[in-house]
């Protein structure tokens, strides 16, 4: 334990989450999750609908706190009880729907300006200036979507794919230490999905960002990242690192699921779609 590489960037300790406690709708979404994510990790998370993947990301992002006794530690700081906007200093996020990660009534440059100030106090300086615009152009150019020439366009008029690419740039432009991608290509057409996925990979490599990517696509989960986590009914049932992951196939995953969950996977697409 000498280098910072071994120090975990994100620590979850006994993280539980119960929704609608005390009502007939009570659900336990997470059962005592313990997880360490390291600075070089690009973790892919798979798991069936309702497994608790989004809930886990919500807790990391501070949307709501875990149940009493749980702990969320990012970069050595205990952020368990900090509100969501304070988590933002560390955590960039892209949601499944493009409209969640961007503001449609504002322009591209206004959206990026908001993102640039992540985790910094917002005061009475002008929100946009020449240097900002230069920076935005150079951040948008690699997307190859021509957005760099449309800084003044309202985001609401962009296509879903363009918006999601912008959301990705917004999540990463101020270089938070942790990037959360929650099925962020699920609503895009195959071609755009591939573009946004390549972009994510490119940005993650370039900025060496610690990343957690949730997906329903087992191929993607195997192809990307250096670590794979499978969740089921609020628990982590598989956690595979780099070495083992390289040799892993979809069939192995299905078998691993059946063993760990103790259930027969009658129709694998029902639980872990190839989409």
């Amino acid at each position: 334990m000498d280098t910072s590489k071994d120090q975990s960037l994100l620590q979850l300790r006994s993280v539980r989450k119960v929704f609608a406690r005390g009502t007939i709708d009570e659900v336990t979404a997470l059962y005592g999750i313990n997880l360490d994510i390291y600075p070089d990790d690009f973790v892919t998370i798979i798991g069936s609908n309702g497994a608790g993947k989004s809930t886990l990301l919500n807790i990391i992002a501070g949307v709501f706190p875990p149940e009493m006794g749980g702990k969320v530690i990012i970069g050595g700081e205990d952020v368990t009880d900090l509100s969501e906007y304070k988590h933002a200093t560390y955590v960039g996020r892209v949601w499944q729907e493009p409209h969640v990660g961007t503001a449609g009534k504002l322009t591209i440059e206004e959206n990026l300006s908001l993102a640039l100030l992540r985790g910094r106090p917002r005061g009475l300086r002008p929100s946009l200036n020449k240097q900002h615009r230069e920076l935005f152009r150079s951040a948008l150019a690699p997307l190859g979507l021509g957005l760099e020439d449309r800084l003044n366009t309202l985001v609401g008029t962009l296509s879903g794919g363009q918006r999601q690419a912008l959301a990705l740039v917004m999540a990463t432009i101020s270089k938070p230490v942790l990037l959360l991608l929650d099925e962020h290509i699920a609503t895009l057409d195959p071609r755009t999905a591939q573009i946004v996925l390549n972009l994510s990979d490119m940005i993650v490599q370039r900025e060496r960002m610690t990343t957690i990517m949730v997906t329903h696509n087992m191929e993607l989960a195997l192809r990307y990242g250096n670590r794979l986590i499978m969740m089921h009914k609020g628990r982590i049932i598989v956690d595979i690192g780099q070495q083992d992951k390289q040799a892993l196939t979809i069939n192995d995953l299905v078998t691993a699921f059946e063993q760990a969950a103790g259930e027969q996977l009658t129709d694998e697409s029902m639980l872990l779609s190839h989409r």
């Binding site: 906007y85 304070k86 969640v100 503001a103 917002r122 002008p126």
Partner: protein
Amino acid sequence: MLPATIQGILTSSLSDGLIYAFVAVGVFITFRVLAFPDLTVDGSFVTGGSIAAVMIVSGHNSFLATIAAIGGGLACGAVTGLLNTKLRITALLAGILMMVSLYSVNLRIMSGANIPLLRQITIFKSIANFFGTAKSVILVIGILAVLALIVFMILNWFLRTELGLALRASGDNEQMIRGLGSDTDKNTIIGCSLSNGMVALSGALVAQNQGFCDVNMGIGMIVMGLAAVIIGGALFHPRGVASMLLAALGGTFVYRLFITIALRLGLAPGDLKLITAVLVVIALCIPYIQKKARHEWMPPAVKF
């Protein structure tokens, strides 16, 4: 030269348009920028008027009294924002609660229902004295125009600052801006506060211009502000901060023009609320009728 009646209609619409423009700008900040349907307005308008009236009657400088009125409005709005963000009361209900309770507060401030200001040195009279003239409609229009220009410039600057942009984002996509590290509670409180500060300024000016403050003078103010913002939006299709603010100003003028003409046509002042409501309905349904005529689809209106 224009015929005297038309001139009269125009000057009175202009002076009323300018004096109520601050309400429109306030309503614009909450409804349009923050997407926070704030009904505090009917109360905070009178709070502004009554603070100014009480201070002027007790011998304070009218400028000081007007600034204090703005302060009172800022405080009212901040409370509405706090009720919504810290106690999780819905925006509509928080505004209604404030509107109702401010009625009592205003009666307390004025120690009664009405304060006459006819022989007092109001902000208009002291400026008229400064220039060695009597108070006239033209002078009032001049003073209000300067004031409106100042407010316009301040807001146009503020809404483009880092904080101002965060406020606008709060009204557009709260989830996103929180995820980018901006405290949306704070944004809501600042926005509501600013909005009601503007409204109270309007109340203080109206009281000083008409020569009295009455506890009921705020009734329907929110609908008037909305009418101005909606008419401005429908007529000018604004895009961007400056044009949206200008549309609110222009909307107030057009609205006042309708009202003045309606009065000249012989309608009673009591009819004005109905006319206002009808104007709002017309301005609101224009986009739908236009789309309908072009056989375009429009989603059903939201229920909440």
